[in-house]
């Protein structure tokens, strides 16, 4: 197992490198540069040339990429072109914890609501509980974040005034964004848990457990549940990716100062170092998440052996 982890980590390095190459050259292929201001913010050509030279933007692309790699190895992601005086490291250090909080909370919510709902649905199949929660689940999957967010704000913040509409920090500010992001996730998890448990219940070993006289609860929790969670764990990887993309919209709707905003805006601003830094951060998070998921998967299912 340990060897597997090491191999995975080593294999992910070229993947991340290839990603940086692709993003780097695609970024530079986009017409326009970071200092192309127009109108009353425009700067004289001589100033622009000086700026470009200062940030080595007039050098050949391969050379610039080489610089990027060299700095990266030393842990320096460079300065931000857009936010003068701040380095990319600083920006990420400030915003990543917030986005991570949002993501983790949403995932926790999704698991806490989704799994029990799925289990209940499967155990009481074709009852009103089942139909009801399946319908709610599909509803939750279908209402997009862009709709749910403003809807929740309108109901709970504007009309009822119970919860604050925006920003982050205190627990009551965290409720609405977490619900927005977590709803679709919990719906997906509920559906998957239900389908998986339905299949597991029909297995022979469950029937044996019943025949041996085990109490229902014992059968479900000790035997059925553990096995039915396996498919859920397998989708945790892509789920994590979905959380990441979900945070963009949720952060924008609720004005949360997270990493997502930079992700979207930095490309438009041609803030090359920030683009690279944010991309790397997200990719790294995905790699780590996928690795963790695979480890949990192996722990859950003894039949899996990564050799």
């Amino acid at each position: 197992m340990f060897q597997y982890i090491i191999r995975r980590i080593i294999w992910s390095i070229p993947v991340l490198l290839a990603l940086t190459v692709a993003v780097f050259f695609l970024m530079h292929a986009i017409p326009g540069g970071p200092f192309d201001f127009t109108g009353d913010k425009s700067i004289p050509n001589s100033v622009r040339e000086n700026l470009l030279a200062k940030y080595h933007l007039d050098e050949p692309l391969w050379q610039q990429y080489g610089r990027f790699l060299w700095d990266l190895v030393q842990g320096d992601l460079g300065p931000s072109f857009r936010y003068k005086g701040r380095t990319v490291n600083d920006i990420i250090k400030d915003t990543l914890p917030i986005s991570a909080q949002l993501g983790v909370l949403s995932l926790a919510l999704a698991l806490i609501i989704g799994i029990p709902a799925g289990v209940l649905s499967a155990l009481k199949q074709n009852s009103w509980i089942d139909y009801g929660s399946t319908f709610v689940a599909v509803l939750g999957l279908s209402i997009p974040n862009v709709v749910l967010g403003p809807l929740l704000i309108w109901i709970f913040a504007l009309k009822l005034g119970w919860l604050p509409a925006a920003l982050w920090g205190s627990p009551d500010r965290m409720i609405l964004p977490t619900i927005t992001l977590g709803t679709a996730l919990s719906a997906g998890i509920a559906r998957l848990t239900r389908a998986s448990l339905l299949q597991v219940i029909r297995e022979d070993y469950i029937r044996t457990a019943h025949a041996k006289g085990l109490r229902e609860r014992m059968v479900v929790v000790r035997h059925a549940l553990r096995n039915s969670l396996i498919p859920v764990v397998t989708i945790l990887g892509p789920l994590f990716a979905a959380i990441l993309t979900g945070t963009f919209v949720v952060e924008q709707i609720f004005g949360i100062p997270g990493l997502g905003k930079h992700f979207v805006n930095s490309v438009g601003n041609r803030d090359y170092p920030l683009v690279m830094g944010v991309t790397l951060t997200y990719a790294l998070a995905l790699v780590i998440a996928n690795l963790l998921v695979d480890i949990i998967y192996a722990w859950l299912d003894p039949r899996i052996r990564y050799d």
Partner: protein, 319 residues
């Protein structure tokens, strides 16, 4: 065929018309009420999109600033947005964007994925190995980055114009209100799942006898792939693609929401939700129509896709 048992002298053989897989599945689908309702809704939606010019009370770009944020009333059944444009009309035209994204992205993704999977599955061995490694590699990358990068690239290209071929493409994009590049970006970056599924299906279909027979009578490889493998693989692939459609619609809404989707004034439900969100405090009525339309459309496609999948796969029905 049903065989009615009886004594050997009396046994009858009742012959029913042979039913193909598709008509069986279709009948099964019809029994799923939610799927049927969703299917009808989608058909109506398509008709609305096609005949939008005749149904909508006004054009999607017409508006007088003096009408801005008008309340729902006689003149504007669902109110007017921040530029005085009729919300009802824009919502109706918005159906065009969502539906065309769904269809084009699904088609592009289906074709690319199918061909890729067919080739990988058919040739197997080394070719398959390499092709699937590429898919695995691409799978691990955050796709959204590239969608955003591509969109920004296309928009910058749009602005800077261009000559020759590039200019032609940009022109097409302008005519379509900024949709063309969006289709390309979404469709191109979503073919991976389809490729994987197709390859799996091809790998198992390859073992069947009729493929061996086709080889034996000397069919060319091309013929085997497209005349024999493809029809067998197409069914589940179509269902899978239908299941991806809600994702495409949501992706377009999301991109339009953050400003990387269609160009103004093309009405997309995503853009309308963004505009409505900004006016949420003062004029909440703007956001309702596009939000409801988007949600119901995605819901309908979800139910329809689920119904299709259940109809074609007996194991999924829980009994």
């Amino acid at each position: 065929m049903a065989i009615v048992e009886g004594t050997p002298q009396q046994s009858l053989v009742v012959v029913r018309k042979p039913r193909s897989l598709f008509s069986e599945a279709f009948r099964q689908l019809l029994r799923n009420k939610l799927a049927v309702i969703s299917g009808i809704f989608i058909i109506l939606l398509i008709l609305t999109a096609i005949f939008a010019d005749y149904i909508a009370p006004s054009g999607f770009a017409e508006g007088r600033l003096v009408d801005n944020y008008a309340q729902p009333g006689v003149e504007f059944p669902l109110g007017a947005d921040f530029m005085g444009r009729d919300v009802l009309s824009r919502t109706i035209y918005g159906a065009r964007v969502s539906l065309s994204v769904a269809i084009v992205a699904a088609t592009v993704s289906l074709i690319v994925g199918l061909v890729y999977g067919l080739i990988a599955g058919f040739f197997g061995g080394r070719v398959d190995d390499i092709m699937m490694r590429i898919v695995d590699f691409l799978y691990g990358l955050p796709i959204l980055i590239f969608v955003i990068l591509l969109q920004v690239y296309f928009k910058a290209l749009d602005r800077s114009g261009g000559t020759g071929f590039v200019g032609l493409i940009v022109g097409i994009n302008d005519r379509l209100g900024g949709l063309f590049f969006l289709f390309v970006a979404i469709g191109l970056l979503n073919w991976l799942t389809m490729a994987r599924i197709t390859r799996g299906l091809v790998l198992s279909a390859r073992q069947k006898e009729f493929i061996e027979a086709a080889h034996a009578i000397g069919s060319s490889r091309f013929r085997i792939i497209f005349r024999h493998l493809l029809p067998n693989v197409l069914g589940p692939c179509l269902v899978q693609e239908t299941l991806q459609i809600p994702g495409y619609i949501l992706l377009e809404a999301f991109l339009s929401f953050i400003g990387l989707g269609v160009d103004s004034p093309t009405p997309s439900w995503g853009i309308m939700i963004q505009e409505g969100y900004q006016a949420l405090r003062s004029s909440p009525h703007i956001i309702f129509a596009p939000a409801a339309a988007l949600t119901v459309t995605v819901l309908a496609f979800n139910f329809l896709g689920d119904g299709l999948r259940d109809a074609l796969d007996p194991r999924q029905r829980g009994n």
